[in-house]
């Protein structure tokens, strides 16, 4: 079974390609870029996808996803999370370890990968915990998890507050050449905070999380990375201070990378409005100045990748008092149209945007994904960057509907998602 994607605008930043052409997929890999297509079109064994006027890019890579399984299957499962990813054009996703049980040992890693092989329709790469139970005290089975298939370690959502433990983690991971992924937050400074500390939190009478609570920890992690020589990846950057710190660290040669979520480059804390729990996430939506700094950081390369921090929660869990609602929103199915806003607003070229969703994130975790090189696994997204869509949470493939973008009119629609040469989603 072969697939011919015909006449699309092929953009693959990993090879510096941006041209109209054809791609032939055979046996699950990118076979060739044929100049003429006639003979394939006549072949009954070749499925032809007409991509005229559409973009053909490597399938997107999301290095920050919560699949919730095992333990929280009412929010999302590996199956539903993968379906959501496919609908968003993602062909590879990286899942965070804050499941129940926590992915802090090889057996949980193996369970996730087994589930992903049998039920998942996109490539799933687990992240292991830094510390046992994400408790911040003793190191998790990092080596065994690495052997089992983990591509990095993180205590996402439960930052390692003890700098010495963090130091040991950063030293230890170098035996396996995987990065430490930091949800940078000083829990003491955040206190009982539930949103960005600022005018809006003051008006709403909600406890604030100051920007400093992120900046302090980014600063510490960079310093410890410098001390140890480890590769450090900063998750979901939300503040101007973080952008500044990361930019300076990169300049002096610290091995630090960073990601930003679409909600942090699109929204500000004004989105909380009248206690909209779908605008509650951690790190919180920040102010205008932070958003502007993030846009500059995207443009100048300080922020390497776009990741969604897809954090599904059931509707019941979100329909509560703001203080009680869990942090997080879904992101896989809105990532492309939201990222395209960066292109429409002149922040990034379309090639840069695609890079931040494909080869750049793949490179951070050495996934070998996000490319259309001949011989590479055929993970492809075919999409229409112009088509107007209205975000409708009822049509999400995710189990969860917690999106602040419901009802938004955006441009950009995924038409086909192909994983290992199989069409796993078509509009």
């Amino acid at each position: 079974m072969s697939i011919l994607i015909k006449g699309g605008r092929i953009i693959d930043p990993s090879q510096g390609i941006d041209e109209t052409g054809n791609i032939l997929i055979e046996d699950g890999v990118v076979k060739s870029y044929p100049k003429t297509t006639k003979k394939f079109e006549k072949d009954p064994d070749v499925t032809v996808i007409n991509a005229k006027g559409k973009v053909v890019s490597p399938g997107f890579v999301d290095i920050h996803v919560h699949l919730r399984e095992p333990g929280f299957e009412h929010k999302e499962t590996i199956r539903s999370g993968c379906e959501s990813a496919a609908a968003g054009g993602f062909t590879s996703i990286v899942c965070m370890p804050n499941t129940n049980p926590v992915n802090d040992n090889a057996s949980v890693t193996e369970y996730i990968l087994l589930k992903a092989r049998t039920e998942g329709i996109v490539n799933v790469f687990p992240i292991g915990a830094i510390t046992k139970g994400e408790m911040g005290e003793t190191l998790a089975q990092i080596g065994e998890m690495y052997e089992a298939g983990c591509v990095g370690v993180s205590d996402d959502g439960m930052p390692v507050m003890n700098a010495k433990v963090m130091r040991h983690a950063m030293e230890y991971v170098q035996a396996f050449d995987i990065p430490v992924i930091s949800h940078a937050e000083d829990k003491d400074l955040s206190g009982a905070g539930v949103m960005n500390e600022g005018v809006v939190s003051t008006e709403l009478g909600l406890a604030g999380i100051p920007c400093a609570s992120e900046d302090v920890m980014v600063s510490r992690d960079i310093t410890v990375a410098e001390l140890t020589g480890a590769r450090l990846h900063i998750c979901h950057v939300s503040t101007a201070g973080s952008v500044r710190l990361i930019r300076a660290a990169k300049k002096r040669g610290v091995k630090v990378t960073a990601e930003v979520t679409p909600h942090h480059f699109i929204l500000t804390d004004e989105a909380v409005g009248q206690y909209d729990t779908n605008a509650k996430m951690n790190p919180p939506l920040r102010g205008d100045k932070d958003r502007e700094a993030i846009l500059v950081g995207l443009k100048d390369g300080t922020l390497d990748a776009i990741a969604t921090d897809h954090a599904p929660h059931s509707e019941d869990e979100k329909k509560v008092e703001f203080d009680l609602a869990p942090f997080g929103i879904v992101g896989l199915e809105t990532a492309l149209p939201l990222s395209l806003k960066l292109v429409q607003d002149g922040v990034l070229t379309i090639n840069q945007m695609i890079s931040k969703l494909t080869d750049a994130p793949s490179g951070i975790l050495n996934l070998n994904k996000g490319t259309l090189k001949i011989g590479a696994a055929a993970d492809v997204a075919v999409w229409d960057p112009e088509k107007e869509i209205t975000v409708d949470r009822e049509r999400f493939h995710s189990k969860a509907k917690n999106s602040p973008f419901h009802g938004w009119k955006l441009h950009g629609s995924v038409l086909y998602t192909i994983v290992n040469g199989e069409v796993v989603y078509s509009a």
Partner: protein, 309 residues
């Protein structure tokens, strides 16, 4: 003008005209409270539920009297603070009350925004009786009513709010109401308890009580919560009282006919020295009786705007 709101959630969203209408209506309601038979039939057949997640006997009693004076049927539903996180969700509880026929739900809740959740999800009219650190509209309206009664106006008055602005819903509602009605508002307290972003609400902030009090027409003292000391907002109540407690000496800087108000209950010797507390007693009692009239007005106006009540 007529009142178009089905809910009264806070003063931030009310216009100056709407606030004035509530105060004017409260004048008429006050007359009812002065009669021998303190009861009118306006809300006959309406069931009002007082859903309280915080033990506040004063506020609840005031709402209950207001409801009864308007002939509403009253259902009190008081839950412990811990039931917020344990057991039934707020929405499920409120939906139950609505199913029992509650046309108006008065809610007091320790978390900011809880009344907005009910307003969004239920059909009943919602009256906010205090949510977290956010708003306490009935308290602010009765403060405004009392100030207007004593001073004859609000516009142009210098009003100082003293204490824990950061956590105070009384402060927020009063700031919005006072500023809308044209008062000049100052807030003063230890820097840890004055959120720097409050200046966005068009108030001036002070850390020194003497400076803040200069020429004040009205001083609203906030109650200080003992637990703030434990979370390192200030070193001790003694020190707090020394710098932010109101004494006869400090009061000399205020305008001669200054009015001192307190939402009660007072921590004597901490927020107010005992002699000032005694002097302020009559105003505080006026606040209590005005509270009933203001709450009657809130019910009348909400019931008139809420179609299905």
């Amino acid at each position: 003008m007529t009142f178009q709101r089905k809910h009264i959630l806070g003063l931030e969203e009310l216009t100056a005209e709407e606030i004035t209408l509530v105060l004017d209506t409260a004048e008429s309601m006050k007359e009812v409270s002065e009669r021998d038979v303190k009861k009118v039939p306006a809300l006959r057949g309406v069931t009002v539920c007082n859903l309280f997640y915080e033990p506040s006997t004063r506020t609840r009693s005031s709402f209950e009297i207001a409801e009864k004076r308007l002939s509403a049927d009253v259902l009190n539903f008081t839950l412990s603070h811990s039931s917020v996180t344990k057991g039934e969700t707020l929405l499920d509880t409120a939906r139950n009350l609505e199913a029992m026929g509650a046309g108006v739900i008065v809610i007091r809740h320790p978390m900011s925004g809880a009344p907005w959740l009910l307003a969004k999800e239920l059909d009943s009219s919602i009256i906010n009786a205090g949510d977290g650190s956010h708003e306490h509209p009935s308290q602010a309206l009765l403060d405004l009513f009392t100030i207007r009664e004593i001073k004859g106006r609000i516009k142009g008055l210098k009003v100082v709010i003293v204490g824990d602005i950061l956590h105070s819903r009384v402060a927020r509602s009063n700031i919005w109401g006072l500023v809308k009605l044209g008062a000049e508002v100052r807030v003063v307290g230890p820097p840890t308890l004055i959120p720097k972003y409050i200046e966005n609400a068009k108030v001036r902030t002070f850390y020194n009580l003497d400076d803040a009090i200069e020429g004040a027409d009205v001083i609203i003292m906030l109650r200080i919560q003992m637990e703030r000391q434990e979370s390192a907002y200030f070193p001790s109540l003694r020190e707090y009282s020394r710098f932010y407690g109101l004494t006869r000496e400090k009061l000399k800087r205020a305008s001669e006919d200054v009015t001192v108000m307190h939402p009660g209950p007072i921590n004597r010797g901490i927020e107010l020295s005992s002699d000032i507390a005694d002097d302020a007693g009559s105003v505080i009692l006026a606040q209590v009786s005005n509270g009933i009239a203001v709450r009657m007005a809130m019910f009348y106006l909400v019931a008139s705007a809420g179609r299905n009540v």
